[in-house]
């Protein structure tokens, strides 16, 4: 019997005292465990929100509002706001549907596919994660099937297909920012650790100029198409000089038309994403009750079963409000 217990009994409050001691011990234990879990999450390379990284404090996320898009036109329409500030815009130009994202308010999550990458070892796997669901703005197809040539895929230190020098690369850093460039050609910048990389072919746009072989090497350089047609379903992602990400896609586009649309939207560099009608699709997600409601973005798109809320075979990109 300890001195503390005996003194408590002597005062006739033994049980109450023991309960208080146990409760205090549990509270201290919970505090210690929570602290260690938080630090280990950071060590595993979690992508913090850009806002939290900038301010250094884990603030409550600002209110996300995603609006049902009207028929896209040349003028940009706001389709999502974060804390009342426009975060995503929709437009259409020359047969290409485009969505632009402000990276100060939106982050990109690179997802592995059920077949392209497999189901194990990924932070962002073959469907939208529950942690993304409430903040989800849009999602799009990823790159070519990973067994095709000139592809690469890495996320959170886990490699599905080794990265190759010179390929167009969509890089997301550990600070939550994304950039596009040619791998190991002065890119990526060494300022922040790399969290994920998607590689696909060579840069479609570089320094605001389209690749020189867009018309002369359509099939060999920019992917085999159905019936070897030039104008097929195509998609790409570009980045502007001020760091905004621009996704562009359409059901009947040549590589040159796709590049032209992105350059028109201010893209300085761009990576081609998947092509052909069965693999090009984009969604914006409305939030009312329950799970997000997907709205298809490309006129006449074939679509993806489950709209990326269910497991999908190929890799894809999710854009989430921070």
């Amino acid at each position: 019997m300890t001195l503390v217990e005996s003194s408590l009994r002597a005062r006739g409050r033994g049980r109450a005292g023991l309960l208080i001691v146990v409760a205090l011990a549990a509270a201290v234990l919970a505090y210690v465990v929570a602290g260690s879990l938080g630090s280990s999450a950071v060590q595993r390379g979690g992508v913090p929100s850009a806002r939290a990284a900038a301010t250094g404090i884990a603030a409550q996320p600002a209110t996300l509002v995603v609006r049902a898009p009207r028929r896209p036109r040349r003028a940009w329409q706001v389709i999502a706001t974060v804390g009342g500030t426009p975060a995503a815009w929709l437009s259409s130009e020359g047969g290409a549907t485009m969505v632009r994202f402000d990276q100060k308010l939106v982050r990109l999550d690179l997802h592995a596919g059920k077949h392209d990458g497999g189901t194990k070892g990924w932070r962002y796997g073959d469907k939208i994660a529950p942690s993304e669901s409430a903040r989800l703005i849009a999602a799009f197809n990823g790159g070519f099937k990973l067994t095709y040539k000139d592809t690469g895929f890495m996320a959170n230190g886990h490699v599905a297909v080794p990265l190759k020098p010179g390929l167009a690369s969509l890089v997301t850093y550990s600070n939550g920012r994304s950039d596009i460039g040619a791998w190991q050609r002065g890119f990526p910048s060494g300022t922040s650790p790399v969290f994920s990389v998607l590689q696909n072919q060579y840069l479609l746009v570089d320094h605001g100029v389209p690749a020189t072989n867009l018309s002369s090497c359509v099939i060999e350089c920019w992917g085999g198409t159905v019936h070897l047609a030039t104008a097929v379903a195509r998609s790409a992602l570009g980045i502007t000089s001020d760091g905004q990400l621009v996704w562009a896609a359409g059901e009947q586009l040549s590589p040159a038309e796709l590049a032209r649309a992105l350059i028109g939207a201010g893209a300085q560099r761009a990576i081609e994403l998947d092509i052909n009608p069965w693999w090009v699709a984009g969604y914006v997600y409305l939030h009312r009750t329950g799970r997000p409601k997907p709205v298809p973005l490309i006129p006449r798109q074939r679509g993806i079963e489950g709209a990326l809320l269910e497991p999908y075979s190929r890799d894809f990109l999710a854009f989430v409000g921070v």
């Binding site: 099937k145 085999g224 198409t225 159905v226 019936h227 092509i275 052909n276 069965w278 693999w279 699709a281 298809p296 006449r300 798109q301 074939r302 679509g303 993806i304 079963e305 489950g306 709209a307 075979s313």
Partner: protein, 129 residues
């Protein structure tokens, strides 16, 4: 005598009309489906296991999503003609028409069933339903 049993209620008759219409619609739908199945069976037969494997491979080589394949039919009148019937999540049914050359199948056309090719090809595409 109970009046309610002899005098038809206006509500009862109002409910009866939609029920009859519903039954008629269901019957018509069943007839259409039966007619469609009979038509499909008359112009095409299901692919054999070997034909199916070859056509799935040919469809995949054209960067087609094999998860969306619903059925594969071979023309009864021309065994070098086949159709891969696809059901896309948002655009609905699609028919990919293949022609056999020797042992290999080549994609000839693809789109909404019954919208492209010769009349025989369109008939085969319509077997997709």
């Amino acid at each position: 005598m109970n009046d309610r049993s002899t005098t038809p209620s206006p509500w009862a008759s109002a409910r009866g009309v939609p029920r009859a219409a519903g039954a008629l619609l269901f019957t018509l739908l069943a007839l259409v489906l039966l007619a469609q199945a009979a038509y499909a069976a008359s112009v095409a037969r299901p692919a054999t296991r070997a034909e199916r494997a070859a056509l799935v491979a040919a469809f995949a080589s054209q960067d087609g999503n094999t998860a969306e394949i619903r059925s594969i039919q071979i023309s009864r009148s021309n065994s070098t003609l086949a159709v891969v019937c696809v059901r896309t999540p948002e655009a609905g049914p699609e028919a990919a028409l293949f022609r056999r050359s020797g042992r290999s199948w080549r994609l000839h056309s693809s789109g909404r069933p019954g919208t492209s090719g010769s009349s025989a090809e369109r008939r085969l595409e319509l077997a997709c339903g």
